[in-house]
Amino acid sequence: MAPSPKLSYTSAIVLQTIGAGYRYGFDIMEVTGLPSGTVYPALRRLEQQELIKSKWERQDAAFAEERPARKYYQLTRQGKDALARARERFALLEQLAKDETSRRR
């Protein structure tokens, strides 16, 4: 397995947000305040580095609610490790993690 690369701050924020349970591109944009032109390429990059994985929602479930199926993202095991390392590296990210967790409670 290739050693996980050093994350940029943007990638770390996106990873952190997914780790906090926000799974769609739109949600991530809402929470982080980052523009779509930054969030989506960051998602692609993280997926390419196998730090997150994407999965399509079940078609029948979406059709039952008369809406298109969405693609959602979740952390891989490598992603969780990378996030832990990023939290050590970026002190403020740790703070964001606490804020997000408390907000979701």
Partner: protein, 176 residues
């Protein structure tokens, strides 16, 4: 969903590599659909929020570009494309063009040669002093050409000037 949004997404779609295009469009379409639907449901639909949604769609452009130009895609391209016949043919044509343009063959024409040399010598030959200026320009740089070359060119030009002069005299006499 707004037609402008769909149109924008479809335009960006062309940038994405073909094998990823359908999935890319599906994801963006779903994201935008949910956003638009959320605005309607929460009664926050206004000109401002629609503009915001349109702005959000510009992100599709950079996302599509990322698909086309990310490091892995570029490396893939460099790994496969240089081995294709098309690339070899284009490279060969470019190499040949450069060789021909830089070879002594391209300097065979004395007129062109004189022009080039004059330009190198500071363009004095283009001044009103005519042949004298040209002679100065040609002799000022000893490496430019042999005296025989220079004489041949000057003779040719003198001949041309004589012909022109004769023509002008003829025209003048015909008019009067």
């Amino acid at each position: 969903m707004d037609k402008r949004v769909t149109k924008r997404l479809l335009w960006c779609c062309w940038i994405v590599p073909r094998r990823k295009r359908t999935e890319w469009f599906r994801e963006w379409h779903a994201e935008v659909w949910h956003w638009a639907h959320f605005l309607v449901e929460s009664e926050r639909q206004s000109a401002h929020t629609e503009q915001e949604l349109l702005r959000h769609c510009w992100g599709a452009f950079s996302d599509a570009l990322w698909h086309r130009l990310n490091r892995v895609a570029v490396l893939d391209f460099l790994r496969t494309y240089p081995l294709s016949p098309g690339f070899c043919l284009i490279a060969l044509v470019i190499a040949l063009s450069v060789l021909i343009a830089g070879s002594p063959m391209s300097r065979l024409c004395p007129r062109r040669r004189t022009r080039n040399r004059c330009r190198e010598a500071g363009g004095r030959c283009e001044s009103a002093s005519g042949l004298q200026g040209m002679r100065d320009a040609l002799t000022s740089q000893k490496y430019l050409m042999t005296p025989d070359d220079m004489n041949a060119i000057l003779t040719e030009m003198q001949q041309e000037q004589r012909e022109k002069m004769a023509l002008a005299v003829k025209e003048f006499s015909e008019k009067n």
